[in-house]
């Protein structure tokens, strides 16, 4: 008789595995949405663009998870990067729908498109950095932030209030970065 060295799976392990499978599904959703968006924009190699977009999305999520892990550490909670990264990817599922709407694939009335995906659903390009930074603010962006905070609060065994404060702080930091970068790249171009 041989003794097994494999420990039985706990409920936590199962939940974690389920979360990672969901994260994988969200990654495929990103690939599909990016490919369709590239195809709609008549890009020469839509699959190549979609793969590059997915790599960028995963890299962004990895960076976001690293900064979030450090943020949690700063407020006295230890959360592994490997626990945060799949949760952030799962939370980005709402964004895939927003990107589809903004690309005009959802065939929604204009008012609904703007409410769900934010001002980026309008065809006009943002005139300045502030508009560019908040062009994606719609109901789906709010869903993403709330979902991210809820998932992170569970991972960190912290209150939802702490999680949403951290998520909002990091999100605002990223918006400032977009605002300032856009303005620096554009300079005074197009100003009268």
């Amino acid at each position: 008789m041989t003794s097994s060295s494999i420990a039985p799976a706990t409920a936590v392990d199962t939940a974690e595995a389920r979360l990672r499978v969901t994260a994988l599904l969200v990654a495929t959703m990103w690939l599909e949405v990016l490919e369709a968006t590239a195809r709609a924009a008549h890009t020469a190699k839509p699959w190549l663009v979609a793969c590059a977009g997915l790599v960028a999305q995963l890299a962004f999520t990895a960076g976001e998870a690293a900064v979030a892990a450090a943020g949690w550490q700063a407020i006295g909670r230890r959360v592994r990067w490997s626990a945060l990264a799949p949760r952030l990817l799962v939370a980005s599922a709402a964004e895939t729908l927003a990107v589809s709407i903004a690309a005009g694939r959802a065939h929604l009335p204009r008012g609904w498109a703007l409410a769900l995906a934010g001002p980026r659903a309008a065809e006009s390009a943002p005139p300045h950095g502030l508009a560019a930074a908040f062009a994606a603010v719609g109901l789906l962006a709010i869903v993403r932030l709330l979902l991210s905070a809820w998932l992170q609060a569970r991972a960190a065994r912290a209150s939802f209030a702490s999680a949403i404060t951290l998520v909002l702080a990091l999100w605002l930091g990223s918006r400032l970065a977009v605002w300032w970068t856009f303005d620096l790249l554009q300079g005074r171009s197009f100003q009268p």
Binding site: A66, L184, L185, G187, S189
Partner: protein
Amino acid sequence: MKSRGRGALPLERAATLSLALAVATLAALGIAWWRDGARPYATPVWETSRFVQLAPATETRGERWLVAVNLRCPHCKEHLRSLARRIASRAHPPALGVIVVDQPARPARLDLDLSGVSLAAGAWWDSAQVWRDGWGRRVYGETFRFDARGHLITATPVGTLPDSGRRL
């Protein structure tokens, strides 16, 4: 409760370092943005004396549309060609011209392939970086619509018809 273990420390350090790096990058970006915003830039005025002539202007009356072209930018050259095609059929077209920007040395030749359309407002080399440093402009293909006296009417991006705001 799990002990921290030695393996966790490099990860914690990496997380702290990434946060510090993100904060430092944001602060540097903010300072650069604030300094750029505080810098005074002049409103564009068309004065040929500030530019080096590459091709002479054949029309000096009426409106002038000058496109900021970088010779290595295919999009702004395509925009220039689209503009030229779009105004060619007009009874009184504006004088189309080019400002060659971010070009350290005088270009040997203007390879713009306008298919026979003349640049009535001429072609000008921005040797003194007026476009970037004087006017604070940074996006190639921007089209300046000047009135007959050289005053700016509008400045529009690539793909836009300057006098209507419509897509080309």
